[in-house]
Symmetry: C2
DNA sequence: TAGAATATCTACTCATGAGTATGATCGAGC
DNA sequence: GCTCGATCATACTCATGAGTAGATATTCTA
């Protein structure tokens, strides 16, 4: 009860003190604000949004609730910030591939790799699970818009792949749903099973998306008869 | 305020009254219990578990909260029942394909089709989103066990497909995660976008899983150069 | 038709958690 | 040393919602 504020924030006010103390203060504040967001993300990851109280978050930072409120306006705002932190890398991925000279499929795969890594990141859960039901109409609209932007971006890359022949015939909408869904779902199991790095997972997924389950070429149409066991006379 | 209990349950006590009234009562009770579960599922679908109060559920049934508690023990039990109702068709799908003489991939695809339809069903959301964090340790264990059973079932079918040559080289674990994830995610968007039936969605997904994005055969390695636009001199 | 189940309601308790009013403290500049 | 603004804590308010106690209605049985 008396060991509080042991390490609320690194408080690294070392070098670069040349600027006005005002500036330093402001930076300090920003650093702490981000620490609050990050702590919230971790707590949401661990216990879920609704099972996390602001007291929990405060406790994790070794401060009290009013201190948290000093940096963020309310709980849903906190979730919203986590969401933004989560989607930003994905939007960056889209921007990045825009300038790339490659087929639609290649650019799509690049985006999906970043997407997968983002979902497995610290903010992945919040991004994937930020629900309109938990947010005010205004924020809900904002989040929906961002989600839609990403969805449309994926569909566009798919269409471009269809046009340049790098992607085989498919429905862009359903395909986008399937790809994004598989990646989003990573947030559900990655906490428990961290046997692979986010990059490895993303790579494995993209490989599957590209090639599908069917064996390429060769033995495709003729499964080795010797292994066709399981004939079971059950009925 | 005085029009309550308009239609709490069909109350079909018509024929088959031959049995003892005891039996009739019991059936009645069971019917109503299922109506409660169903109402809960609908409410959870619509507003999410945490944003749904038992008063909401009661109101939807045009009864009061104690009446709901007369049929179920508590809120988490309600979620658990919804979960069970959601997974049962999937377990049935596994049982069904067990007796089927087909390649691993064919059996896997059959299961995935049922899986997709189950996720798009009334209980899909509850099944997919029942979180351990919201449940007591005992129920959490139970749900985890069922989820694991399904996961292992998918992996097994994948391994069998690998063995009989109907599935190309892949990591069963990651592949199972990707497939299940894509399908689970249907629950997130199906409420808003019902332009396709669950069966159509499942079919589209399975087609994608099987074939992948790359075009089969033919023009695969050589995208039509004429369409390779987008050379953009941005950097 | 009395009485026993069965089914439902009214009117609570109680805990939790979001958000706040108010005051203490601390560091910087004068 | 004093003041002022930034920061943080104590100690609340207040609404919501899970779950219950006990009364009441309804239906079946004897």
């Amino acid at each position: 009860m008396n060991s509080r504020r042991a390490s609320a924030a690194p408080q690294a006010k070392s070098a670069a003190a040349s600027a006005s103390p005002w500036r330093a203060r402001r930076r300090d504040r920003e650093v702490k604000r981000e620490a609050v967001i990050r702590a919230a993300a971790r707590a949401f990851n661990h216990k879920g949004y609704h099972n996390t109280s602001l007291d929990d978050i405060a406790a994790a930072l070794e401060v009290t609730k009013p201190t948290v409120y000093y940096y963020v306006t309310n709980k849903e705002h906190l979730l919203f910030q986590c969401f933004l932190a989560g989607v930003e890398p994905i939007r960056a991925a889209f921007r990045e591939v825009k300038d790339r000279q490659a087929t639609g499929r290649e650019r799509l795969s690049a985006v999906l790799r970043h997407y997968g890594e983002a979902v497995a990141s610290e903010f992945g859960w919040c991004m994937v699970r930020a629900e309109d039901q938990d947010l005010s109409p205004a924020m809900s609209r904002h989040i929906k818009a961002l989600k839609s932007e990403i969805d449309q971006g994926i569909r566009r890359l798919i269409r471009e792949g269809l046009e340049d022949g790098s992607i085989g015939s498919c429905d862009p909408k359903m395909t986008a749903f399937a790809l994004a869904g598989a990646l989003n779902w990573i947030a559900h199991w990655y906490r428990e099973d961290q046997s692979l790095t986010p990059a490895e997972i993303a790579a494995a997924f993209v490989t599957l998306f590209e090639g599908g389950l069917q064996p390429r070429s060769a033995s495709q149409a003729a499964p080795r008869a010797s292994l066709r066991r399981r004939v079971r006379i059950a009925r």
